[in-house]
Structure formats: structure tokens, C-alpha cells
Amino acid sequence: MISLRRMTKRSEPYVFAVIVALSLLIQARSGQFFSGNNLVDLTRSLIVPAMFSIGCMMVIVSGGIDVSFPAIASLAMFVTDKVLLASNYSGNVLLAYAMSAGLGLLMGALNGFLIGFLRLPTLVVTLGTSSLYTGLMYGAFAASASDVPPSIANHGKEILFTATNASTGLTSNMPIHIFILIGALILAFFILRYTMLGRGIYAIGGDEIAAERAGFNVRGIKMFLYSFVGLLAGITGIVRISMMSYADPSTMLSMDMTVIAAVVLGGTRVTGGVGTLIGTVLGITLMTMLSNSLILIGIPTYWARAFTGAVIIIGTGVTAHQTFSSRRRRSQMQKAKA
């Protein structure tokens, strides 16, 4: 049982409270927030960022940062799309997922090798590979918006249920892809909670040298981590194009900032070692709600980017400040004991 004092120290309850307050505010302003179709729309638009946020959160927990996942997702899905179109593929969509996931895995493994084995700084490496993959996509593959193979398009039309707004008559479809998100969340939860690998990710983020002395295979864990991010990104790429039913290479490229902001908002500590999947999902929900209803809460669309920046700064500022003051308090307590 988590005590109340521990609850107030974590960010998740606050994020949840903000989400509730914001939804009430939007409901009061527009009267449409708690309608079935709006909730389905919201869920629909958070599937892709939430998929990205899983890997992003795990990397930040390990004390690193990855800005290359949008580029990996875009290149993996684009190559898959082109190859399947060229071969007139009409079979199961699973092949598209497997291919894109495999390509993503390879690209992530390059990050993992450079970061884990050569110990290069994570930001500089992922900035570099991000530029590399984007350049390859536009240069070597001459990427532009293109069609998707019929199997992917049909997969995008698979619908779980349809919600209708009673007063406006607007309908929204819940895509089947929600199960992919749920599956990825369960997998990540299992890894983080029940495996030595998962404990290792938290241990590296807490103190890399201590983790190594404790016997964790730091290189292997980092290799896994960045490859896993790549794999998830590859899958996310196909999710995105099947939901949109055309392949636009630029559609995911600017998502990195929003996703990182959401992960940090959700209580993942930027210095590593602390973070939960529940917090991450809450963070993504809050960010999606904000960007979907900026106008409703009185912020013009041109200011959306400034708003994201402010959210990142405030979110990271609060968590960084918490870390710092809790560390200071702990060292004072130790001094008092001595």
C-alpha cells in the first residue's frame, strides 16, 4: 500500500489532477468533451505518440535521450511501403509490420552500438543518426507522399467500434491499432517490472558505475534499449500510415519534442532512474488533450509551439528541482545522523 506521503511526492497524481481539471474546463467551455466521439478521437490521436513514448521513457529512465525515433519510424515505414508497393504485395499486413520492425531494429541497433559499446554521448549520436536517416529517406529513396499497399490500407479500416455524438451526429471510429498500443504497453511493463533487464535499466539510470559493479551488463542493456526503441518506432511507422492510409514521410518528423515533453511531464526524471509507464501515458494524454483543444482553452494555433516549449521547461524545471532538493535533504539528514 502506497502511503499518502509517498503519493504526494510523485508526479502522476498531479498530472492526473490536471487532466481532470482540464477536461472539466473544456467541457464547461464547449460542452463536447465528454461526448463519445470526442473521447474516441482523443484516443485515436494519442496512439502514435503513446507508442513512441514507451521507448522514449525507457531511454530517459536509463539516463539517456533519443531524438532519432521519428526518423527511424519514417525511414522504416517508407522503405517497407516502397518495397511492398513495388512487389505488388497483397498478402497479410503482418509482413509489413515485421519488415518495418526489423528495419527499425537495425537502425536502433546502430544507436545502441555507438552508445553502449563506444560510450558516445546519447544526444549527439541520435542527432547524428536522425539526420542520417532523414537524409537517406529524402535523398536515396526520394521520399514524397505516396500510396500504401492494399493490405495496409485495409488494415487501417479495421474498426473496433464507432462512437456517435448524440447532439451533433458526428461519428468517430476506434481503430484496431489500440490493441497494438496496449500490447506494447504490457510488454514494456513486463520488461520493466519483472525482468533483470528492466531492473538494469533503472539501475543504469540511477548510477551507471554502481550498476556495472553490481554485475549488470551495461553495454548489453543499452544495446537492447536502443534496439527496442527502433523496433517500436518501426511498428509505429506502419500504425501511422495505415491509420492515415497514405505514406507521408514528414508526418512524424516533428514529434520528438512533444513526446519527450510528455514523458518528462509524466514524472520520468530527466537525470534517469525514475519513471513509470502510467505516468508516461498520463503525460501523453495531457499533451494530446492540450494540442487537440488549444483553441478551446483560448490559445491560438500559432502559439502552439511556444506552448510546447513552455510545458517542457516548466515540466523539466519542476522535476529537476525536486530531484535536486530531495538529494540535498537526504544529504542533510545523513549529516544530522552523523
Binding site: L118, G135, W303, A306, I313
Partner: protein, 347 residues
């Protein structure tokens, strides 16, 4: 006596290490130059091509110097392009709204001075914000400046609705595109002054030494009695100031200001700093190295431009690839050196 001998031993070792990196860069610079001259003999090594190169690199070169400073202190500034655009937009907005159409030269000059001041003050303020977030709120520099980059670019977009600000007074672009002896652009002179000033600051002034110290070991610097926070804040203010100067140059070159101008410059600046021998973990690097890295990149980029069949997007591939290769090479070199040193100490 004992102290004397250790001193004598230490200095040459340091000098040698320092020179090795610069020599490597210099060889690379010559190689790229010779390669491009051979591949494009009639285009590359010409007066007009040098003139256009001197026009191109100051704007990102000055920002790269700012990024290098922050990397020497163990941080990074990913907000330089945002600061440059925001400060350019604010002074462009001022000029467009205040200067009457068809005004006399003498009338315009005071407005230009105020516009430059607006830009510089904006740059300093932005740097101050980043610096305070990093030094006082303990936000890791990567995230703080990712945030400020979004914020500053966002404010610039919000102020202009994303539209380019054009219609600057003619005098501004006339001064900004002036050339000495019909060859040396004024932006190049500004770059030289900035590089010299920062170079002297790093090697001769107390603040420079402090920056290296904080970058090498912040805890040791703190226990040595340095005010780390104040040193970091000044570093980011300097970076902001340099970015605003770059913004003024961009404004003169394109004769307008735009919120999302020069987005690839962020990566390019980090690349230049790393290529120039700045250690991303802090504590190492010189402005001479950075300047050579800027020249190498400009030679590469101008040279590639002369091949019609190479898509512009390959430049992204090359920048990303070069960045990673240089990092890998530097790491392997350090490992090798460490291994040799370890072997020597075992003997």
C-alpha cells in the same frame, strides 16, 4: 626543484596533444580543399566561389562558436537558431513598423542602431533565461535548451503568424552586404572579430579558464571556490549574444526574418564543435579547431553544391555520417592512448 621538473614535463605533453588535434584538422582541411579543386577545377578554387563561401559561413559559424562555448562547460545549447531567429524578427518588426517609407539615410541610421541593440538585448535575455534554467533550476542543458528552442521559435512564430518579415529599409541590407575591396564581406569581418574575441577570452582571460574548469569537473571547480552557476549563466549569455549577431547577419543576407529559418543549423553547429575537437563531455577544445572545422564544412558543402546530380538531402546524410565517424574516431584514439599509457605505466 621537484616542482620545476614536473612542470617542464607537463607542458610539452599538453602542447603535443593540443597540436595533434589541430594538425589532424589542418590535414583534413587541405585534403578536402585539394579534392574539391581536382574534382571541380574551374568552379571551386575561384575568386567568386571564395567570395560566396565567405558570405555563407559566418551566420552558422558564429552560432557554432556559441555552441562550442557551452560544450566546453560540459553543456550544450540547442537553442541558438531559435535565439537568432527571434532576435532577428524582433528587430525586423521594429524596423518595418518604425522606419517611414522613403526616409533619408541620415534618418534611418539611428533606427538601425536601435534595431541592432534590440537584437543584441534579445539575444542576451534569451541566453540569460537558458543559463538560469540550467544553473539555478538544475535542468540538464539538453532538455533546458530543447525547451527554450521550442519556446523562442514558438514565440517567433506566434508574433509573425509564421510569415516571413520582409520590407526592411534598403540601407540595412546595403550595410550588411557591404564588401571591403570588393571581396571581403562585412559578415566575414564580424565572424573574425567574434572568433578572435572568444579565442582570447578562452585562452587569456579568467572566465575562459573557469569555463574549462567547470567543464572538466564541476564538483572540483565548486570546491575550488568558483561560482559555477554564475560562470554557466555567463556562458549561455555569451552564446545568446553570439546567436543574435548571427541573426543580424541572416537578416542582412536574406533581407528578411523568418521564424523557422536555418533549422538544420542546430545539428551543423554541434557537428562543427565535435569535429573541431570540443569534447561533448566538457573541458576540452579550442576556437582555432572550431574555425578549421567550420572551413572544412563550408568547403565540403560548397563543393557538393557544384555537383548537379547530388541531391541536397545527401548533405543531411553526410553531416550525420561525418558527426558519428568523427566521434567514433576520437573515441578509438583516446582508448588507444589510454591503453598505451596503461602499458607504459605497467612497464
Amino acid at each position: 626543484m621537484a616542482i620545476d621538473t614536473t612542470d617542464k614535463k607537463k607542458i610539452p605533453v599538453k602542447m603535443r596533444k593540443h597540436d595533434a588535434n589541430l594538425t589532424r584538422l589542418f590535414v583534413m582541411l587541405i585534403l578536402v580543399f585539394v579534392l574539391m579543386t581536382i574534382l571541380r577545377p574551374n568552379q571551386f578554387a575561384t575568386v567568386s566561389s571564395f567570395n560566396s563561401m565567405m558570405r555563407q559561413f559566418p551566420e552558422y559559424g558564429i552560432m557554432a562558436i556559441g555552441v562550442s562555448l557551452t560544450m566546453i562547460t560540459g553543456g550544450i545549447d540547442l537553442g541558438v537558431v531559435g535565439v537568432a531567429n527571434l532576435s532577428a524578427i524582433l528587430s525586423a518588426k521594429f524596423l518595418i513598423s518604425m522606419v517611414p517609407k522613403g526616409a533619408e539615410v541620415a534618418q534611418v541610421v539611428p533606427f538601425l542602431i536601435i534595431a541592432v541593440l534590440i537584437s543584441v538585448v534579445t539575444g542576451i535575455t534569451c541566453g540569460l533565461i537558458s543559463g538560469i534554467l540550467i544553473a539555478k533550476f538544475n535542468i540538464p542543458p539538453i532538455l533546458a535548451t530543447l525547451g527554450t528552442q521550442q519556446l523562442f521559435t514558438g514565440i517567433a512564430i506566434g508574433l509573425t503568424n509564421g510569415r516571413p518579415q520582409s520590407g526592411l529599409p534598403l540601407l540595412y541590407s546595403k550595410i550588411g552586404n557591404m564588401e571591403f575591396f570588393n571581396f571581403i564581406p562585412i559578415s566575414f569581418v564580424v565572424f573574425l572579430v567574434a572568433a578572435l574575441a572568444i579565442g582570447v577570452m578562452l585562452s587569456r582571460m579568467r572566465l575562459g579558464t573557469y569555463m574549462y574548469l567547470v567543464g572538466t569537473n564541476p564538483r572540483a571547480a565548486k570546491y575550488a571556490g568558483l561560482n559555477n552557476a554564475w560562470i554557466l549563466i555567463r556562458t549561455y549569455v555569451l552564446s545568446g549574444l553570439l546567436s543574435s549577431v548571427a541573426g543580424l547577419i541572416m537578416m542582412a543576407r536574406t533581407n528578411s526574418a523568418k521564424a523557422d529559418y536555418g533549422a538544420p543549423y542546430t545539428l551543423q553547429c554541434v557537428l562543427i564543435a565535435v569535429l573541431g575537437g570540443i569534447n561533448p563531455n566538457g573541458g576540452f577544445g579550442t576556437i582555432t579547431g572550431v574555425t578549421m572545422a567550420i572551413l572544412i564544412l563550408q568547403f565540403l558543402s560548397s563543393g557538393l553544391n557544384m555537383f548537379n546530380n547530388i541531391s541536397n538531402f545527401y548533405r543531411d546524410v553526410i553531416w550525420g555520417g561525418v558527426l558519428i565517424l568523427v566521434l567514433v574516431f576520437n573515441t578509438l584514439l583516446t582508448w588507444n592512448k589510454e591503453r598505451r599509457a596503461a602499458r607504459r605505466s605497467m612497464v
